[in-house]
Amino acid sequence: MSEWIRIPLTSNYAAAYAAKDVDVDVVAAYPITPQTPVVERIAEFIANGELQAEMIHVESEHTALSACIGAAATGARVFTATSAQGLELMHELLFIASGLRLPIVMAIAARALSAPLSIWGDYSDVMATRDSSWITMIASTAQEVYDSIIQAYKVAEHSDVLLPAMVAYDGFMMSHTYEPVYVAKDRSIILEFVPKKKPSWNILDPDKPITIGAVGNPDWYYEFKYQQVVAMENSRSVLRQVFEEFSKKFGRWYNFIETYNMDGSDIAILTYGGLYGTAIEAVDIMKKQGLNVGTIKLRVFRPWPEEELLKILKSLKAVIVIDRAISFGAALEGPVAMEVLTSVYKKGLSTALHSYIASIGQRAVMEEDIIAIVKKSLELLEKGVVITEKPVYWGVR
């Protein structure tokens, strides 16, 4: 590990280090709690000469992503970061960034959406972008934030993909918590992994003039959108390759999903973000109490990792999905639970699915909550509840 140094970083700082180590050319970002330290740290890197990049101090998140689109369309490697309202203000541009097939990478310190105003962590903001054609990864440690951002560039810039990518992590619980993180001593090892070559996408070049962002009428629009479907599909195999290459090269193993204590367990808790760490602790406690339960982390949300999930789900009696956002009025108001249910139904599995909503607006979820959720589900199973009619709104008063 001599190529790495182990330093204490928050997930926000880990995101900033990743942007520095992939040698981004342009950063356009606007401060918003809890993302702000990302922008501050990048500004420090530039001020110290550790990163040679143009930082655009934009007047809004709408402009942040617009400027990233302009810069990426000129062939630059770009980075931005935001949270909650900022991500919502970018919403229009999310679809344009992916429609123009620009490999922008964005870090998201996931936060609850107003109203009422909440600066605290949940995944309402990330889940609201799910149809925007961005590759979406959710990290659960600061190390994973650093590594995922590096991987995100490699996937996004791949000529079979050319889609933007976001890497999300819990606002506050992760964005402001220090953890030991291995970062590259010298970024050349990172740049070997994600080399900066001539852009494989079409750019604004006076020597080869092209029109970007043309009008797509009914005779063409659909084909453009279908190409995005294909690109998202292609990203599966590219993600797989990138995870493998990263694991081999750097010795840190990654996949679409991660599991803990699944051997011999026929019940699993599925969740995402920092809550996975709490779930692991809860699993250990339950094991000591004689209750053998496993846990699954959803690491890649888009593209939906159906194949990887089904491999685990097919041998399970029940999966307990703890969602951290609400899809108001949906068939099942836990957004990830709904997708799991679709996958389960598509393959005709008999796995029971219990949907829980928790940690909304950063309402605390402790190990004992997870244990209580499992116990509640065991009761439900005894009562013969295969699929919860509605999610269980855990911890709401």
Binding site: A76, T211, G213
Partner: protein, 319 residues
């Protein structure tokens, strides 16, 4: 800073012949936007990246798989042309610093945007770009309403003008409010170069484009763009109306170059505003008394401009 900067275009023969704005686009017959853009690209040349927000120009020139643009062109959204241009300019700077783009290569970043995309929905992005000092020339073609969606009132629609959202009825007679003085608001950002122009005075307009591209930092050129469809006039009259705008002082061609103000097209003898107004259907409802009121407003504006210049650059109405 000396005002005696180079005049690039003295006569029509100084204008490059090369056409970078291709024919076959879908702008209305008689639309003066085509005239402005064609001359803009002649002034800017091949090493130019164009940013164009949503609007008439965008939808008429870029219907896939066709394009009228022989220079690199990008459209992103309606309200963010200045933001996109900021990103392009920053990317060029960064890539030059890293040797990816030849540091000696001069690449112009030019925004061409309508009044809605500039003065209304795009105003925040514009102000941000100006404040940050990006080297971008922003050209606003002002047809004084949302023409692309079908003639709705904008912040730059003049007072009393009919639009589909300021209709003429029994109670109301067109737009109630004044036209937003966009160029002056831009000038308040203290950018190196701000000018107003008019396609009837095309050499003046093109020299302003050249100056705007030359200065270090942001420049803004506010161009009046008579719209046959929205202003309700015969398609052949566009340039005549543009000229009348200057001759009546409904529109004054000026520039503010590093803080020094001058009127670039002096009008020793003014025409009465009725000559401009009576050619346009959007003002059909105005009575002679209403037009006299507009004349008084213009008189006051002329007095103000003359005072700034310190001499009578715009003369009295002589019929």
């Amino acid at each position: 800073m000396s005002l005696a900067h180079k005049v690039h275009y003295k006569t029509v023969f100084d204008i490059p012949k090369e056409e970078l704005f291709a024919p076959g686009h879908g702008l209305c017959a008689g639309c003066t936007t085509g005239t402005i853009v064609k001359l803009l690209l002649k002034a800017a040349g091949l090493n130019t990246i164009v940013v164009n927000p949503t609007g008439c120009l965008e939808v008429s020139t870029t219907t896939f798989p066709y394009t009228a643009w022989r220079v690199p062109y990008i459209h992103v959204a309606f309200e963010n042309a200045a933001a996109v241009a900021s990103g392009i300019e920053a990317a060029i700077k960064a890539l030059k610093a890293k040797g990816v783009i030849d540091p000696n290569k001069r690449i112009n970043v030019v925004v061409i945007a309508g009044d809605g995309g500039t003065a209304d929905i795009g105003f925040q992005a514009l102000s941000g770009m100006l404040e940050r000092g990006h080297k971008v020339m922003y050209v606003m073609y002002d047809n004084e309403a949302y023409m692309n969606t079908g003639i709705q009132r904008s912040g730059t629609t003049p007072q009393y003008a009919w639009t589909t959202t300021t209709p003429v009825g029994k109670v109301l007679k067109g737009k109630l409010q004044f036209k937003k003085p966009v160029a002056e608001i831009v000038a308040a950002h203290r950018v190196p170069y701000v000018a107003t122009a008019n396609p009837a005075h095309f050499l003046d307009m093109m020299n302003k484009f050249r100056r705007g591209l030359e200065v270090e930092g942001p420049s803004f050129i506010h161009v009046l763009q008579p719209c046959t469809t929205g202003w309700r006039f015969d398609p052949r009259l566009g340039i005549k109306i543009a000229r009348l705008a200057t001759e009546t002082a409904m529109w004054i061609n000026w520039e503010l170059d590093h803080g020094e103000f001058r009127v670039t097209v002096p009008v020793p003898k003014r025409k009465h505003v009725k000559h401009y107004i009576r050619l346009q259907g959007r003002f059909n409802h105005l009575t002679d008394a209403d037009i006299e009121e507009i004349q008084k407003m213009v008189d006051r504006e002329v007095e103000r401009i003359n005072k700034i210049v310190g001499k009578e650059v715009i003369g009295p109405v002589v019929e």
